[in-house]
Amino acid sequence: MESRPRIAVLVFPGSNDDRDAAWALGAVGAEPVTVWHAEPELPDVQGVLLPGGFSYGDYLRCGAIARFAPAMGAVARFAADGGPVLGICNGFQILCEAGLLPGVLRPNASLAFVCRDAKVRVTRTDTVFTSRCEPGQELTIPVKCGEGAWYVDAGKLLELRQRGQLLLTYVDENPTGALEDVAGVINARGNVMGLMPHPEHAVDPLLGSGDGALLLAGLVDAARERLAVPA
């Protein structure tokens, strides 16, 4: 039987997609391990997922407080060691506030909470997270957020575009008002990704789309590789 890599799903006070994320990871071949935010160390895991929700009530700015959680120190060390880390929605906001991903998520330009399917294009398939996608593939994944408008300054944007770090872009419609239609970004090293749409809500075609499974399976593939090569 194929080995199931262990992937930590962090749980902050106010996280609300942690159980969906854990279920979805299980559906694509991982063994999810929930980790409470107060834990100073991660258990023996080969990947990390930061789920959606409203950590610490979104006080101050989304993700601004969660970044100081003890578990986030462990996540930063895990990422520095090359471990794969995926942040979804609030998880993306936290990774940006923690400086693990470039930019910041601002209130949607419409000021309205959006909750609907979004179509995103995969701009590269040579990353661990998008390796299961076809070049230019369009994925249907639901977006549900009030503060999903990704932003960076013009100089940084140019740099990120040149380096191919703008990994997912909205097609047809930009539901959040994100700069350059950006729905997801990856770090320069290629092991940390964040996105506003929720792949964990799109792993079963019965619920409208199974496209999210492709991205989650990419995380699981990367985790499985770490399983094969003990640190």
């Binding site: 601004a64 910041v104 601002r106 209130p107 330009a109 419409s110 000021l111 008002g177």
Partner: protein
């Protein structure tokens, strides 16, 4: 010692909240050309050296109270 931190959306950054307030002010009969919405944080600090307090609050602004990518801040100290 008391300190007040004023956090504002940086110039040139779209402020949808400010836009909504501007539009609502128009409905109220007070047309304004612009409105920007920021945040006020009142701090109470133990008595001590004002300059040191200022520099520590500045660090806190850079790391937590504001996101320097999109927000500017001002610190007012009151002995």
């Amino acid at each position: 010692m008391k300190a007040t931190v004023l956090v504002r959306p940086k110039e040139g950054i779209l402020d949808p909240q400010g836009e909504a307030v501007r539009s609502a002010l128009g409905h109220l009969g007070l047309p304004v050309e612009g409105a920007r919405v920021g945040r006020v944080i009142d701090l109470e600090l133990p008595a001590g050296d004002a300059e040191e307090a200022r520099s520590r609050i500045e660090q806190a602004c850079e790391q937590l109270l504001a996101n320097p990518l999109i927000e500017s801040y001002e610190i007012e100290l009151e002995a």
